[in-house]
């Protein structure tokens, strides 16, 4: 058998260019397949980790997925705000332990600005119930003070004491600046791998203050209220975009949800984050399946290429196989020789694919984590990935049997002198 192995190796080396390219195509296909799978899992994990400990999300009546997207992930915009009074009412419900108000609508160089209060730093949880931590500084106390998410500070190179201005709206286009009321960075949060990293946090009062001289999304012509004079005005918030709610007892969640959804004075919506996430996944599942489907097809193309290359080589190797027959190789040796070749190329391709994926996670991982909050951690292979790899290996081995069986049958009929 070792003689056969050596022959298989040298024979493969003799055809190293075609086999090498085939191996590479299988490797790339495997990288794609595992990459898609890993991004899918990473996206789910990162979404699921973005909010924890929150029992309900409160917002204006819209679709649950949309409320989840803009309140937690800061994706898309709110269609409507909710009244401060309604929010206060909900807060006073006996089952409610804490609430985190969220006012959205402004941005700083593309990063969303969150108007909130101390409850954010006290009650917000992510991952497995981890609280936010300040890497530097302190929570905001004054009106024109801001706390930056880790990624905002890192990417824009901000440090404590820096002065920044906010823009109206969410674009990076500076269409409408709140340039007259600059904020001072007083705190920078430790990285969390969630949308918090990409947020600029200010107080609810600050949101009111910068919009004092605004109306309908534009500065009021002829009216300008200087920063030092804002204290003279009533800065208590009038509206809110959303709120995260924590309950004293989770068992009350449906009762509170019913209470909010049936709130008589204003159309409100309360969603369970987990339920909304599930709904989101149902929407995304189609895209995921399409991506997985495409990757599977790419793997199939790679394996078909392998079979084609081995089949094509059979013609030129016919005499070679007859020579092996004459020196004592049986048809089963011929079968083993070719199956070995196909199997080895498949396995080597998978190995190389895994290596490429590791390399990719290592080089592009930090970028993906920073930009998209996807953590493609350089982790071990998961069970789901093992199943995919196993399926690829089995398919590869089964596909390799095709040329092997053909060669086996040919070895029987050709005998020692193939007719060419």
């Amino acid at each position: 058998m070792s003689a056969l192995l050596r022959i298989a190796l040298l024979s493969a080396w003799n055809r190293r260019l075609t086999l090498g390219l085939t191996l590479l195509s299988i490797a790339l296909a495997v990288t794609l397949l595992l990459g898609v799978e890993r991004s899918r899992v990473a996206a789910r994990t990162s979404f699921a980790q973005s909010v924890s400990g929150t029992d309900l999300i409160l917002g204006a009546r819209t679709s649950p997925v949309q409320l989840l997207l803009y309140s937690v992930f800061r994706m898309g915009g709110a269609t409507n705000n909710i009244g401060w009074d309604s929010y206060q009412d909900v807060t006073r419900h006996p089952a409610v332990a804490w609430t985190i108000p969220i006012a959205l609508g402004d941005s700083h160089r593309g990063f969303p600005v969150i108007g909130t209060n101390d409850a954010y730093f006290e009650h917000f949880r992510y991952g497995r119930g981890r609280a936010l931590e300040l890497a530097e500084g302190r929570p905001f106390a004054g009106i024109f003070e801001t706390v930056l998410g880790a990624e905002v500070a890192r990417r824009l190179g901000y440090r404590l004491g820096e002065s920044i201005t906010l823009s109206h709206g969410s674009g990076e286009l500076k269409v409408a600046e709140h340039g007259d009321k600059p904020f001072t960075v007083v705190g920078i949060l430790a990285p969390t791998g969630t949308p918090v990293d990409h947020s600029v946090h200010v107080s609810l009062e600050a949101i009111e203050a910068i919009h004092l001289d605004w109306q309908g999304g534009a500065p009021m012509p002829g009216v300008q209220i200087a920063a030092e004079h804002v204290q003279k005005f009533d800065l208590s918030p009038k509206t809110l975009t959303a709120a995260l709610i924590g309950l004293k007892n989770r068992a009350a969640v449906f009762k509170v949800q019913r209470h909010i959804n049936g709130y008589p004075d204003e159309p409100l919506l309360a969603v369970l984050p987990g339920v909304a996430l599930d709904e989101l996944w149902r929407v995304v599942a189609l895209v995921e399946q399409a991506l997985i489907g495409i990757s599977v097809l790419v793997v199939a193309v790679g394996l078909a290429g392998l079979v084609a290359v081995i089949l094509a080589s059979l013609g030129e190797r016919r005499r070679e196989l007859a020579v092996l027959r004459s020196v004592g190789a049986g048809p089963r040796h011929i079968l083993a020789l070719l199956a070995l070749e196909g199997g080895a190329v498949t396995l080597a391709g998978m190995g190389l694919g895994l290596l490429l994926l590791k390399l990719l996670a290592w080089t592009a991982g930090p970028l993906l984590e920073a930009r998209l909050g996807l953590s493609l951690a350089i982790q071990g292979v998961t069970l789901a990935e093992l199943k995919l790899l196993g399926a690829v290996a089995l398919t590869g081995l089964a596909a390799s049997l095709l040329p092997a069986v053909l060669a086996y049958r040919r070895a029987l009929s050709d005998g020692l002198t193939p007719r060419l």
Binding site: A3, W13, N14, R319, V323, G415, L416, T417
Partner: protein, 233 residues
């Protein structure tokens, strides 16, 4: 040593059921130690006969005995073993595995057959030494032996094939037109070397060719067309 190297009795073979008979040989006896010239023009069933002698094909009727062994009584894998243990083959051309070095090509039978391996060790000290000795006797030596087989000339390749057939002293050497790819001068040289080595090893030689001019080198001349009733009609 058995008295008969090859013994065919009432041998019949066809490629597929319903196809016309390809071989129909009432009898053939080749005593051990003979050097037989078998004249076989193309289409006379030559390749098929070689396949039967090598145990690659089995007859429809009759028996094929090689060295007193009825090949029909052996299983497929036993026939594969028997073939490499007792028979050395030399073909018309493309005898060698192109990407294997010359020495590895010669050693192939030793890789598949323990008997040939041990015999080569016994006569040459080691398989490699025996392979080098045979190659040298056939006029091949030096750095040539490390080269891939496809870098050799056709004449050199045929001599490598002869060394491979001879290594480990198989009792029967079957050569199928081994000289047809060589020019006339080289044919005689090659034949002399082959006959000499076969005699040295006391091997039976079955030499198949359509070229009558070579017949005088042999102890006996047979015509496959005369033997094979299927080819006569």
């Amino acid at each position: 040593m058995p008295a008969l190297a090859i013994h065919l009795q009432e041998l019949r073979f066809r490629w597929q059921a319903g196809a016309p008979l390809c071989l129909d040989i009432p009898g053939l006896e080749v005593p051990a130690g003979e050097r037989v010239f078998l004249h076989g023009p193309s289409g006379s069933g030559k390749s098929t006969l070689l396949g039967l002698l090598g145990g690659v094909h089995l007859p429809e009727a009759g028996t094929v005995r090689v060295l007193d062994q009825d090949l029909g009584r052996l299983s497929g894998s036993r026939r594969d073993h028997f073939r490499v243990d007792h028979i050395g083959f030399i073909f018309q051309q493309f005898n060698l595995i192109p990407y294997l070095p010359v020495l590895d090509n010669v050693l192939l039978p030793c890789r598949f057959s323990r008997r040939r391996r041990e015999e080569a060790r016994r006569t040459g000290g080691s398989e490699q030494a025996e392979a080098r000795r045979l190659l040298e006797a056939l006029g091949l030596e030096g750095r040539l032996l490390e080269r891939p087989a496809n870098q050799l000339s056709v004449g050199q390749q045929q001599r490598v094939a002869a060394a491979r057939a001879l290594i480990g002293r198989p009792e029967l050497i079957i050569a199928d037109e081994p000289t047809s790819a060589l020019d006339a001068d080289r044919q005689d040289d090659f034949l002399d070397l082959l006959l000499h080595e076969c005699a040295a090893q006391a091997a039976t030689l079955l030499f198949v060719s359509h070229d009558h001019r070579l017949a005088p080198h042999f102890t006996r001349e047979l015509s496959l067309a005369a033997l094979n009733r299927a080819a006569q009609s």
